[in-house]
Symmetry: C2
Subunit: 248 residues, 2 copies
């Protein structure tokens, strides 16, 4: 499992997985530079391989690739974050719709065990809590055995971690755990409508906790802060700027 699983688990995949974990545990913060040389050296591979891995991660939206520039960990905008959660909600509603009442005892047990692990990580660092919470959702997706759904939910869940890293403040995961438990109960009981609503509200709650204000909580990038003031239209930047309608 470490370096060589069966015969060759592909160096590119190894680097991708490592970077994904580093990103969702916030060891790599948004905006962090990822030079090909450094990655290659760190993982005992050539620049070619590191480059390929960065390409994959870029396709997943986790890193930004600018031509002739050093790749960086993606920094989602607030609007992208909002859209991402909207999509995630629909995808995960699909997951629980497929799963409600279809899980066997073993699967339910696995889910409950995972929530136990989340419970056990409450004292620990935020990074672990976030990772476990994310993995809970991916675990659910995997139970659908639908490759596409698994891929999309995994991808978007990782992106949401990135969003949390970008916007969220110290994070309280208590509510998430109880919400996960409620989800499992409803899944087991097979109440489709209820579990879809639970998932919807759960994710909405996660999003709300992260995305309270449309303005960036911290002055990460001065350009973004000034963006509204650079608009040709002389609209005073007051109140809740209705994000989509006009402002892009």
């Amino acid at each position: 499992m470490a370096p060589t699983r069966n015969s060759k688990p592909d160096k590119v995949a190894i680097i991708c997985q490592a970077l994904r974990r580093a990103i969702i545990e916030q060891a790599l913060k948004p905006g962090t530079k990822l030079p090909e040389d450094a990655l290659g050296e760190r993982f005992g591979a050539s620049r070619t391989i590191a480059r390929h891995a960065l390409g994959q991660l870029a396709a997943e939206g986790l890193v930004e690739l600018r031509r002739n520039r050093i790749a960086v960990v993606a920094t989602p905008s607030w609007q992208e974050a909002r859209d991402t959660f909207d999509i995630r909600i629909e995808l995960e509603r699909l997951v629980v719709r497929q799963l409600a009442g279809q899980l066997d005892a073993g699967q339910i047990a696995r889910l409950r065990a995972h929530v136990e692990a989340e419970e056990g990580a409450r004292g620990g660092p935020d990074a672990v809590s976030i990772r476990l919470a994310t993995e809970f959702h991916i675990l659910l997706a995997e139970m659908t055995e639908s490759p596409i759904l698994i891929r999309y939910v995994s991808e978007i869940s990782y992106r949401c971690c990135l969003i949390l890293a970008t916007f969220s403040r110290p994070h309280s995961s208590d509510c998430a755990i109880s919400e996960h438990r409620a989800l499992i109960d409803a899944l087991e009981a097979g109440r489709v409508e209820e579990v879809m609503n639970l998932m919807h509200h759960h994710l909405e709650a996660v999003a709300d906790r992260a995305l309270v204000a449309p303005a960036k909580p911290r002055g990460r990038d001065i350009m973004d802060i000034l963006a509204p003031y650079a608009e040709p239209a002389p609209v005073p930047p007051a109140g809740q700027p209705r994000v989509r309608a006009i402002m892009r």
Copy 2:
């Protein structure tokens, strides 16, 4: 937009785009081999670049990459096809939900112009009709200006083309055109619920036209054809074989 945008649109991107088009126009059928050498030579690039492009396409689900084996155009299974359409329906409902009543006259005009193009292509080859129909949906997605939504809808639309190529028979696009017109009308009128339902039924209809029978219409892969017969459960392969636990 053409081959060279400003100065350097990245050779990898060029190859990706070319292959995508070839795939959605069914010039490259599912299962077609894509050797790195050949691609590189054909596009005047090195194998490294072709390889990278294949990696990107694999991340999008358009090609399958098996270790030490020649890459091939992906061949979705019937169940994957069904799941893909389910996801697509939700994504595109999101698109029209955001767009209803928000489009300006110019955008409406662009949409109608596109449908005109579809109309004009009715006599032509299926490949063009399919491509145009797909581009209509991508055009809609682009009007949301949500990068994530655009990416996902584009990706999944391409995959659906692949599905059509795999399962569909001669294809009749007449209904699709009128359905597109109805969508535009509802979008312009801003009736959110109606346009979401229209999109839902439109895509459901497309899926139904393509996925009439769960068994593969043509014996592309003998293993898949025999798969139902290899099941341990002695269920006669009649009627609608509920592929998943309860199928969706």
